[in-house]
Symmetry: C2
Subunit: 429 residues, 2 copies
């Protein structure tokens, strides 16, 4: 019987056996302090020379960082020990003495760490980020599952391009051209007419020759879509959703947030309602800050940062000019030059995490827009069908998981938010 380190508190005074890897060793006379990690936690195992067989003590002296170990000993509480518990070792078996470990406590360059991502993941900080990412994903799914949404998986291999093919990875599908999906939205629109409220959640792809701290070639996106919902409905949904996710992480991943030294004060403020400003109002703000961006165009990175830093909660910017937005967005009935759309920008300078809109539900208007955008009408036959058979207003949005992980963990670069990042010149390991 083996015990996971996360459960040692249930075994105070008992002899248990754990299996793991040596994270660090300190020697003091006849004592060897082994910091052992097993993926669920870390514990200090104290080997006193007099308590173990001489050959065991000798073997312990040979252990290097990341050597694999099976350690037997008695658990005791010790407030001075990292984690609050310690083991008095009675026996220790070495699985393997690890070769000289490439990642040491000294500073390494990012290129080196990325090249060794498969090992870097074992470090305390990366381990914490993995666990926070997992909790974010769980919270996302729980939110939709508990609010009556049905998960309807949308395909990765798609025949048509939603918004042009320039940033799509192309693939040969038995002689036909296919593309890796950038969004499940169009399929979500079909699904929500069946299940009412739907979401999809999975990898999406963007073949963009850009190197920024906010872009990956492969990233995760969650996209809810709600039949009968209008722009107001999904702005409300988005703020409830983001607040839920942040609060869940604060509750469930306190230890990990501490480990990566995240100041949680700004996160504690994340609850509905969020500030909402129109695109025009946003420009008034940007112009007082001296932006060079002309009205009518999309915000630049600097503009996003200004907006993001102007509020201590995520800010929703709505009703962008129709001309800079996707073909499927419903025009604002009060201003046909604007689209019923919204972006949500995370605070602390993190910028856009959500983009969404009300979708055009009138078949003639949709057809007109598809033609205006010079998209292949044939490929959209099924999408147009959704407007012929009981069309209803409907709305949805997409949230990028890596940007949310980046914000919640307060990371400088999105590459640490995903286990195996795919970047412009990085597909290994």
């Amino acid at each position: 019987m083996y015990t996971y380190i996360q459960n040692v508190h249930e075994h105070i005074g008992e002899e248990i056996t754990i299996r793991g890897w040596l994270y660090n060793r300190t020697d003091k006379g006849k004592l060897r302090f082994l910091l052992v990690r097993d993926g669920t936690g870390t514990i200090q195992a104290v080997v006193f020379k007099g308590n173990v067989d001489p050959e065991v003590f000798e073997a312990v002296d040979q252990t290097t960082q990341e050597s694999s170990l099976t350690v037997t000993g008695t658990v005791k509480e010790d407030s001075r020990a990292p984690g609050g518990y310690e083991m008095d070792v009675s026996h220790c078996e070495i699985g393997q003495i690890a070769g000289e470990y490439p990642i040491t406590p000294k500073d390494h360059g990012t290129a080196f760490l990325m090249e060794n991502r498969h090992l870097w993941l074992r470090s305390s900080r990366q381990h914490a980020i993995l666990r926070i990412r997992h909790e974010i994903i769980r919270a996302v799914r729980d939110f939709y599952d508990n609010n009556g949404f049905t998960l309807v998986d949308t395909p990765i291999l798609t025949p048509a391009a939603c918004e042009g093919t320039t940033t799509l990875f192309e693939i040969d599908y038995f002689g036909e051209k296919a593309y890796l999906s950038q969004s499940g939205q169009l399929y979500n629109e079909a699904a929500c007419m069946s299940v009412g409220k739907t979401y999809c959640f999975g990898p999406t792809f963007r073949a963009e020759k850009s190197k920024t701290r906010r872009h990956l070639m492969e990233f995760s996106k969650v996209e809810p879509e709600v039949a009968w919902a209008n722009l107001d409905d999904i702005m409300k949904l988005a703020e409830d959703f983001v607040s839920y996710v942040v609060q869940r992480v604060l509750e469930e991943r306190k230890e990990e947030l501490e480990r990566i030294e995240r100041d949680t004060t700004p996160l504690e403020k994340i609850e509905p309602p969020f500030p909402r400003i129109s695109y025009s109002e946003a420009f008034v703000l940007l112009e007082t800050e001296g932006t060079d961006t002309p009205r009518g165009s999309d915000f630049g990175a600097a503009d996003e940062t200004i907006l993001s830093c102007s509020f201590d909660k995520p800010v929703i910017v709505h009703r962008y000019p129709r001309d800079i937005k996707a073909f499927y967005m419903q025009p604002d009935p009060e201003d046909s030059g604007s689209a019923l759309c919204m972006d949500m920008l995370a605070p602390e300078g993190y910028g856009e995490i959500i983009g969404g809109s009300q979708r055009i539900h009138d078949v003639d208007l949709l057809l007109e827009r598809i033609r205006e955008h010079k998209l292949p009408v044939d490929a959209f036959k099924w999408y147009l069908d959704l407007r012929k058979y009981g069309t209803v207003p409907h709305s949805g949005f997409g949230m990028g998981i890596e940007r949310v992980v980046s914000w919640i963990c307060s990371l400088d670069h999105v590459r640490e938010t995903i286990p195996f990042p795919r970047m412009l010149y990085r597909m290994y390991p």
Copy 2:
């Protein structure tokens, strides 16, 4: 305020408003019986001519299948009504009178239904399968999340091929060759050395020019991997896991299973332990049934069916000949010609749903196998690293979600198990 049909039981005697689509209409004198669906349920809304404005009654008379409606009325219990509740309609607004709906209650060919998959999803049976699929996916995630596993997403875009490139979709990654992942296993092995117990769950791809009732080009796979686990440990994990998933669906999706007329008796038997037989024992059984397959080769489809139908629970077949299995499998210490691997075959003729193994943890043996299989050693540098720095025995498996949906729903063909199937000559919609 609008009510979802799944919540009407909370409003007996009250006037509510629902929004949805007309599934069916029956006229009887001054009565119109509207069967309305909204994705969360179905309810009969009864329009009595004397209770609504004349123009409303006229409009109702124009409604066609899938027309969108907003219906106001009083909820009453009625054991004769489908679902047990009815609405006495006081008002009805028509969103859109649907064009002539292509999918009628009469029989359609599969090709036609697949071509109209975006609409077919609205039918009662497909809706039920979507909901069961969702519950299976939730149960899968809950099982691992509640048992201490950390989700570590593995990449879709991969540089190296795990088992040869013949069945891989190739992609141009900025001038480099990349492939769409068939398995996250190799990455899982790196992750489990960080988090102890890991799983990945997402789309996987197989470019196989085969048309069978059990294959899709894009499908979902969940893959757990456990550090320090041996073959026995993961056989136990697999039977606990599959039992949990089946029992969850029986508890949570009773109505949907009834709707698709699934006889649940065989599913109720699915609990641990499952029968376990070795490859050699399986052959004894197959030979008494007169198989033509020579010993030493993989089972044919007919063999799988025989094995699958020989037990009323899933059967685990373990220790296949090493030569027909993947390079990374640990040899059986008691018979070096066999691998420490296992497949699980679902009953009722459904066949393989799980494949797994203990992995080679010795770096020299692994290197030997990579060379034997003529795989590019360079591409496996990081994978070999895992055996250099504190290597430990570890094991895992993969389960195909669509095959499990197929079995639990008792479907003839895997194409109905996924919202938008990708098959040999099918990438639309």
